[in-house]
């Protein structure tokens, strides 16, 4: 009976919803600064304001937006614009294989609704909260709590940046706060030799491959880190690691 009662409870009243939101607040300031700068950049791109607002609200993918904007303004063919966004977002496709292990049993509509809102940091924090890739009832409220915080922390400053573009001094480099937020999250994921080495390899690969178009350097870095990570996993003696899914 208790599980039926829990199911009737509104999602946002679930303690895991609050926890998901709370664990996202640490990075919210950095996300917000980044969104603000993205909004300013969008406003200065030459796209009419109503279209920029529409884009910010419904596309909800910062780097794809920034890449698509100049193409859109210059009248590039639709398929070029969409192919660009597709490549830049490809890292999310990799994460979706991870989401599947938690949410694969939900109805397809629910899965896709969650996928739309699942940004990078949602994935990172979710995996830290639930390292064991098996479905559990508290995962859905935790997910939506993190999404609620991240979505708000992104959309509100992004719209402010769009509307107040001329009075926000981007030369101060406040967008760097977003990089620092990601840096902190990155550090929190380094917990053994394998992750440190994988991170170092990914950093070198991302910088070395930076000249590639469409931010493909991100995919190069992921491939390099996965390869070196697997190599380390196979060449080091087995011991229990909290993030490993089989023993």
């Amino acid at each position: 009976m208790s599980s039926t009662c829990a199911a009737r409870q509104p999602l946002w009243r679930h303690p895991e919803f609050a926890r998901g939101a709370r664990e996202m607040t640490g990075t919210a300031l950095g996300i917000g600064a980044w969104a603000l700068v993205t909004g300013v950049a969008m406003a200065k791109s030459g796209l009419p304001l109503p279209l920029s607002v529409l884009m910010s609200v419904i596309v909800f993918a910062g780097s794809a937006q920034l890449a698509a904007l100049p193409l859109l303004v210059s009248g590039a063919p639709l398929w070029v614009i969409w192919a660009t966004a597709l490549c830049i977002n490809m890292r999310f496709a990799i994460f979706s294989a991870g989401w599947r292990r938690y949410f694969g049993q939900l109805p397809r509509g629910a899965r896709l609704r969650m996928a739309y809102f699942a940004a990078d940091l949602n994935y990172v924090l979710f995996l830290r909260r639930f390292p064991d890739p098996a479905p559990a009832p508290e995962q859905v409220p935790y997910f939506w709590g993190g999404v609620a915080c991240n979505w708000t922390a992104w959309q509100v400053p992004s719209l402010l940046g769009l509307l107040l573009a001329d009075s926000i001094p981007t030369a101060w480099g406040i967008g760097f706060a977003g990089t620092l937020a990601l840096l902190g999250i990155t550090y929190s994921m380094l917990h053994d030799r394998a992750t440190w080495i994988a991170a170092a390899v990914a950093a070198c690969a991302a910088v070395a491959a930076f000249a590639l178009p469409l931010k493909l350097n991100i995919l190069v870095a992921i491939a390099a880190a996965v390869a070196i990570g697997l190599l380390i996993d196979r060449t080091t003696p087995k011991h229990v690691r909290p993030m490993e899914d089989r023993t």
């Binding site: 780097s63 597709l86 994460f95 949410f103 101060w172 760097f176 990155t186 996965v226 899914d245």
Partner: protein, 109 residues
Amino acid sequence: MTTIDGVIAIFGLAAITVLTRGLFLIPERDVPLPAWLQQGLRYAPLAALVAVVAPEVVLTQGQLITTWMDARLPAVAAATAYFFWRRDILGTILSGTAVLLILKLGFGW
């Protein structure tokens, strides 16, 4: 570009957000992934974050920075020191941004 073109492009971009973020969530049956790939995927989010952060710190206009007098380096050093001292993300952001602003606004770096 007409407004209608823009709206179509933007709705397409939103669809791409769903398509990419949900790629492996679309099929009803599990898509079998090789075990080594499943295991290797635990490094993917870490690598994606690093791949966004590293170029933002050491590149300017796609070129490696050539001077130590770049406000980003002390900012990252301060943020790093703070993180490993307190393990707190908010403080990491604030300490790094404070150093950045002091160097940029105060010293003109």
